[in-house]
């Protein structure tokens, strides 16, 4: 194989690994968006809250990797609950902007609280495994492989939950038509809450995996996670669960290739540029909008 081909494939492999964590981030984001129909700007920060809780335990209480993981999930879920209660539940369906600004306000709260709890910018985070695997001319980091495995399992689990359980059915009906769901007796408020918690937990898992593979965490993590989750979700299509997967992997691969070719700055430029292009040309995302929303179609003509 030529050097170019090897590089391209290596980048793709790396991209898929990293992309799997983006897919998890996007999955959580999309679950919230699908049910709430609003953007949760505090999403990344809630994951960071969990991650910081875990880091605190690691640094000051000497917890190991696995207990830290559990703490991260719990922390993220609790933070998600806080956001849901304060920023989403009190608002009527029409006050979407208010919800979003409110979630931004909470984003600021969490970021500040995190810096107060752990004042150092860089904080160590427990790593999972180290070392890499060699497959022919390609290298695969073991922790990345673990990330991929866990992300894949989590996605399958969420898929199973959505399509094979009553709870999942409830979520899907609420996503489809909230009012109708309420009319047929679906406990909408409870479903929304649980969906939020599920989304935050999935996000927390992504956060743990990412922080563990970097073996560190900074207060910028919140914004970073929101950004990546957002781009991946939009690439794959807002509110689409398979889209989250496609978008996450696509973002990971494109970023890996762009970084190899153009360096880290231009890599970010490419990511944003891609998002902008997708929005300008295909507002429905790569997977497209499945059903047709007449009101939206009318809106678009104007």
């Amino acid at each position: 194989m030529t050097k170019l081909a090897i590089d391209l494939v290596q980048n793709t492999l790396d991209g898929v690994m990293v992309g799997s964590s983006y897919a998890l981030l996007a999955l959580g984001f999309t679950l919230i968006f699908g049910t709430m129909r609003r953007l949760n700007l505090a999403y990344g920060p809630t994951i960071m809250a969990g991650a910081y809780l875990g880091t605190y335990a690691f640094l000051h209480l000497g917890f190991g990797a696995f207990p830290v993981a559990v703490l991260v999930l719990i922390g993220a879920a609790l933070a998600g609950l806080y956001v849901e209660r304060l920023c989403f539940r009190p608002f009527a369906q029409t006050a979407a902007m208010a919800s979003m600004v409110s979630s931004f306000a909470v984003w600021m709260q969490i970021e500040e609280a995190a810096s107060l709890a752990l004042p150092r910018h860089l904080n160590a985070f427990p790593a999972l495994v180290s070392g890499s695997l060699q497959l022919g001319p390609f290298f695969v980091r073991l922790d990345h492989l673990l990330m991929l495995a866990v992300a894949a399992s989590a996605t399958l689990l969420v898929h199973w939950a959505l399509y094979r359980t009553r709870f999942g059915l409830g979520i899907r009906t609420v996503i489809d038509h909230r009012h109708a769901a309420a009319l047929v007796g679906v406990p909408v408020t409870r479903i929304l809450l649980l969906a939020f918690v599920l989304a935050s937990t999935v996000g927390g898992l992504a956060g743990f995996l990412i922080a563990a593979s970097e073996a560190q965490i900074t207060p910028m993590f919140g914004m970073w996670a929101t950004t990546k989750g957002l781009i991946a979700m939009m690439l794959g299509g807002l509110g689409s669960v398979p889209g989250a997967l496609v978008g996450g992997l696509a973002l990971g691969i494109i970023e890996a290739q762009a970084q190899w070719l153009l360096g880290p700055h231009l890599r970010d430029l490419v990511a944003w540029g891609l998002l902008f292009a997708v929005l300008a040309l295909w507002p429905g995302g790569l997977m497209g909008a499945a059903g047709v929303d007449e009101a939206a179609a009318v809106q678009r003509r104007v």
């Binding site: 059903g291 047709v292 007449e294 179609a297 009318v298 003509r301 104007v302």
Partner: protein, 230 residues
């Protein structure tokens, strides 16, 4: 001919909301439109006013092909519309709701506000009006540009019998003179009172056309509204 629809077809994804519809309307004519929910009445109105694109067919208004025209241009050409669920600018006053933007604010619309009995509420925020007052506001809003055609989508929806009668009287007094009306309604008495000619829609097709009593007596009407018995 004021309005001509030729072979209008509108699809949403795989669903054909309106199928090959032909319609002709003379100036000043009042046409009733009936049919069960989902038969395409609102979609048809959306198409005529330019909110939704026709997949096939033409809409001709006063000799001009308006099929591809932008909604604001169609409004300025003289077609107005009211909505099934009252639509207005809730955070603006009654006067600001009614006056079109390309006209100075005061004065001209006093007569219109008086006609719908809302003149005394001209500085009230639209959100603070009762449903019945909001419906009257809708009518004033739609008439503000002196349209030659007005499409009314269930103007009595949500009103009790007394209010319905009052609304029908208002339509007869204020809306119908000097302009053509297509009135979409479920309430038979309102249609019978106002419309000499009625079109019955069924799943996007024109099922029947004729005077109200004929339509009410037809089997198509019964099966459309009440379902087919065995």
């Amino acid at each position: 001919m004021l309005l001509q629809l030729e072979g209008v077809t509108i699809r949403f994804g795989g669903l054909e909301a309106v199928r090959d519809l032909d319609l002709v309307l003379a100036p000043g004519q009042v046409l009733g439109l009936m049919g069960p929910n989902g038969c395409g009445k609102t979609t048809l109105f959306n198409a005529i006013t330019g909110l939704v694109r026709c997949d096939a067919g033409r809409v001709v208004f006063r000799g001009q092909d308006v099929t591809r025209l932008a909604p604001h241009a169609i409004a300025r050409a003289g077609i107005a519309r009211t909505f099934q669920t009252v639509r207005m600018f809730p955070q603006m006053t009654v006067a600001d709701n009614v006056a079109p933007v390309d006209a100075p604010r005061a004065g001209q619309f006093e007569q219109l506000l008086h006609a719908v009995a809302l003149a005394h509420k001209r500085e009230v925020l639209a959100a603070e009006l009762s449903l019945e007052e909001q419906r009257r506001l809708e009518i004033a809003r739609a008439l503000a540009r002196s349209p030659s055609l007005i499409l009314m989508d269930e103007p009595t929806a949500g009103l009790n019998p007394r209010e319905t009668e009052a609304m029908a009287a208002l339509i007869r007094r204020v809306v119908i003179p000097t302009r053509a009306v297509i009135l979409s309604e479920h309430k038979g008495p309102v249609i019978a009172d106002l419309c000499p000619l009625v079109i019955l829609l069924d799943q996007g097709r024109k099922a029947l056309q004729g005077p109200p009593q004929e339509i009410f007596a037809s089997s198509a009407f019964r099966s459309g509204y009440l379902g087919v018995g065995n």
